[in-house]
């Protein structure tokens, strides 16, 4: 029996939204998805007119949809933003080469300028070499730290004043759970904001903050957007996997749990007097850091000295920057 779209537009419904459980036709779904992102952008005051925005583009579904929707909304609502694509080549053979090709296609499809930075050029190390040196367990730390700085540097090189990333609701809920499990109160207080900025570093913006991962896939599928969908080859051993599986199981029991967790995260009140790290600059590269050497320089030092395993031990956890 055909189900009709719940907005009563008269069309047949072709999907059920994981976020609200309502059934929508294709056009109303596109409209709802896009309007919700627009709402996030306007109510969170994420951008200002004539701003140069660097969109972190990995070729994956989140950044592809982000690039598409940002361009679409920029045109429709006349945000007057200058959008650019910024991509980082971590040097993971097979995985990154293919996704970078996707980003190049995005550049052509969406007519946006593209800049690619590589770990090799920035740090002198590819992830393949890092994994050879460090092993398969702690490599995500290196990649995450390096990428964050790389995005920052690339954005500054392009003259951008903020970085837009494709973090979705599932990512944020997962981060809340992870930070509770790791006892990282400082991060817990910040992870639910739509704009995160540490003084000195460029603000990072998450326009897809309230989009369910499943709906991003649905949007890409129905809009026929091309994206690269393989998991990073080094990812399986990460601790984050526990939180991710837990979240997936929770979602099966109660689909609204993703928004419920974000709501909890937003309403956590912390006792005063908890020590938070102080901002300063790295003595080696000048990047924002709460320690004498920023995380990237610390890790690079350990890689170059052949003491890579030390970089991610519990001791260095204490000297992590914010």
């Amino acid at each position: 029996m055909p189900v009709s779209c719940t907005t009563n537009c008269g069309r047949k419904a072709i999907l059920r939204r994981p976020k609200t459980g309502t059934s929508l036709c294709k056009e109303c779904f596109f409209d709802a998805f896009e309007t919700e992102v627009h709402h996030t952008i306007t109510s969170g005051k994420l951008f200002y007119p004539r701003q140069l925005v660097a969109i972190g583009a990995s070729g994956g579904k989140d950044s592809t949809v982000l690039a598409y929707v940002m361009k679409f909304l920029n045109d429709k609502y006349d945000y007057k933003l200058n959008l650019m694509l910024l991509s980082i080549d971590e040097g993971i053979t097979g995985y990154r080469d293919d996704s970078l090709n996707t980003v190049k296609e995005n550049k052509n499809d969406y007519q946006l300028p593209l800049k690619i930075l590589s770990y090799q050029n920035l740090y002198g190390w590819t992830m393949d070499r890092v994994v050879e040196e460090v092993g398969k367990k702690n490599n995500c730390t290196f990649c995450g730290v390096f990428r964050r700085q790389a995005l920052e540097r690339g954005a500054v090189m392009m003259g951008a004043s903020c970085i837009a990333t494709g973090h979705n609701a599932d990512d944020i809920a997962e981060t809340v759970l992870m930070n509770i499990m790791r006892g990282d109160v400082a991060r817990l207080g910040r992870c639910c904001a739509a704009i995160t900025s540490s003084d000195g570093a460029l603000p990072r913006v998450k326009p897809l903050k309230f989009c369910y991962e499943k709906e991003i896939v649905m949007y890409a599928y129905f809009r026929k957007l091309k994206y690269f969908s393989t998991e990073c080859v080094y990812a399986p051993n990460a601790y984050r996997g526990h939180a991710r599986n837990f979240l997936k199981e929770l979602e099966r029991i109660r689909p609204s749990v993703i928004m419920d967790i974000i709501h909890s995260g937003e309403n956590l009140v912390f006792q005063t007097g908890i020590k938070t790290p102080q901002q300063g600059t790295c003595s080696s590269c000048g990047h924002v850091s709460s320690q004498e050497l920023c995380q990237a320089c610390t890790l690079l030092l350990s890689l170059n000295e052949g003491k890579a395993k030390q970089g991610v031990s519990k001791k260095s956890h204490k000297i992590r920057s914010t």
Binding site: C143, I261, V269, Q271
Partner: protein, 428 residues
């Protein structure tokens, strides 16, 4: 996503180191052979473990300064579990201790909540359970009361005189039957238990209630509370003291004890065997409810990473709650339902509006039903209580105290909106 949070991939918590060998000496007295290992590396003999637990318990209560120089009566919620027994034993020893051993000036009363009606237990089965409870608690020498779990207020009676009344059970059964999912049932059950304990404490002229939550159950409550949208009130649900209910303070003096510590203590100190009392969670599948899933997750993760429970517990200790002028009509916690810009709540309401084309006034605002009582009730509830109430088919079955609180909150809110322009706001 790998770039979320930065250093997320590492295995921060080291996998299990090897256990101490058999024959290791107790780390405290260094004379007797150790009989139990706590936290992977701490080996204790029986006497030292008992002393450690007693010391910890009295220190927590002493530091809180709740018990002064005069006797205060305290109601101990007893469920039959090993933690409940440990709590009773620790309290009983603390009360009987000499003044130089940090004696606690408390006058304990024990209460058992009979939840058998929910599980369809027969009257005979329920009375047998009461007898078993009496058997294990009588030895402590404190008065023991029993009360049936009820939607409306019921009075605690001496457990030897406890009787079952069919009609009060019916209301309870109808309420739970009208709840659609197990997660909401469990959350509702928790709320009702708190209301019953609070009411009994007042009737027994006690202002303190002790609960036997240990660090494992606290860690599970923290994580499941976050999943249920309780961010604003988690510190009240899991902290040492909770004063939401007027005149009654809930205490959790066992929260610093792991479930292993509490169980071993109850065995070593010669407590009677624990009583198994079935509950809604008994034999439930892992994916039947958020609470059960969270418990399974934490317990399994703890096996691989032994500091999981203590890390979650310590994170929870850093939370607190800001009281609001008008508390939630159900849980009496802070109202966290103000529409802040770019918040999850605002985004959810916006999505619902878009997807159904309905304006908020025509629906209850929290789900797509059209129940008028629910839509007025929901305005007076916090986020997580809204989730419970929206899963109750017939909100009229909710406790009358909740409906009364809601009516009161509504009329105050109407009054305030009438005089708002003349009110001088504090500060800012």
């Amino acid at each position: 996503m790998c770039s979320t949070g930065g250093d997320d991939g590492e295995t921060l918590l080291n996998p299990k180191p090897p256990l101490p060998e058999k024959g290791t000496l107790c780390r405290k007295c260094k004379t007797s052979k150790a009989q139990v290992i706590l936290q992977i590396k701490d080996a204790y003999c029986k006497e030292c473990l008992i002393a450690l637990c007693n010391h910890k318990f009295r220190a927590i209560l002493g530091k809180s300064r709740i018990f002064g120089n005069e006797q205060k009566s305290v109601l101990v919620a007893f469920s039959g579990s090993a933690s409940s027994l440990a709590l009773l034993k620790l309290l009983s020893d603390a009360v009987a201790a000499g003044p130089s051993h940090r004696r606690i000036m408390a006058c304990p009363k024990i209460i058992y909540i009979d939840e058998g009606a929910l599980l369809g237990m027969s009257a005979e089965e329920r009375l047998t359970k009461c007898k078993e409870i009496l058997e294990v608690t009588a030895g402590f020498g404190f008065p023991v009361y029993a009360v049936p779990l009820n939607v409306q207020d019921s009075s605690p009676v001496d457990i030897t005189n406890y009787e079952i009344h069919g009609n009060t059970d019916d209301k309870l059964k109808s309420l739970f039957e009208s709840v659609s999912d197990t997660t909401s049932k469990l959350d509702l059950l928790n709320r009702l238990r708190c209301n019953v304990l609070s009411s009994c404490a007042q009737q027994l002229k006690t202002s303190l209630v002790m609960l036997a939550d240990n660090s494992t159950s606290v860690a599970v409550k923290i994580l499941s509370g976050v999943s249920l949208g309780k961010g604003a009130s988690i510190s009240l649900e899991t902290g040492f003291s909770d004063s939401r209910h007027s005149d009654v303070t809930f205490l959790r003096p066992l929260r610093d004890f792991t479930s292993k510590e509490a169980t071993i203590f109850s065995i070593f100190s010669g407590c009677p065997k624990s009583v198994f009392v079935p509950s809604l969670l008994t034999m439930s599948k892992m994916d039947s409810s958020i609470q059960r899933l969270t418990e399974t997750f934490i317990v399994n993760l703890q096996n691989e990473f032994p500091s999981t429970v203590s890390t979650v517990y310590r994170t929870g200790e850093k939370f607190c709650s800001t009281p609001s002028n008008q508390p939630c009509a159900f849980c009496l916690g802070p109202l966290d339902t103000v529409h802040k810009p770019c918040s999850a709540l605002e985004a959810t309401d916006f999505s619902r509006e878009l997807s159904t084309g309905k304006k908020p006034e025509s629906s209850c605002g929290s789900c797509d039903c059209k129940n008028k009582l629910r839509s007025t009730l929901v305005q007076t509830l916090c986020y997580s209580c809204r989730l419970i109430v929206c899963s109750v088919d017939n909100p009229e079955l909710l406790p009358s105290t909740v409906l009364e609180n809601a009516r009161e909150a509504q009329s105050f809110s109407k009054m305030k909106s009438q005089i708002e322009e003349f009110l001088i706001s504090e500060g800012e």
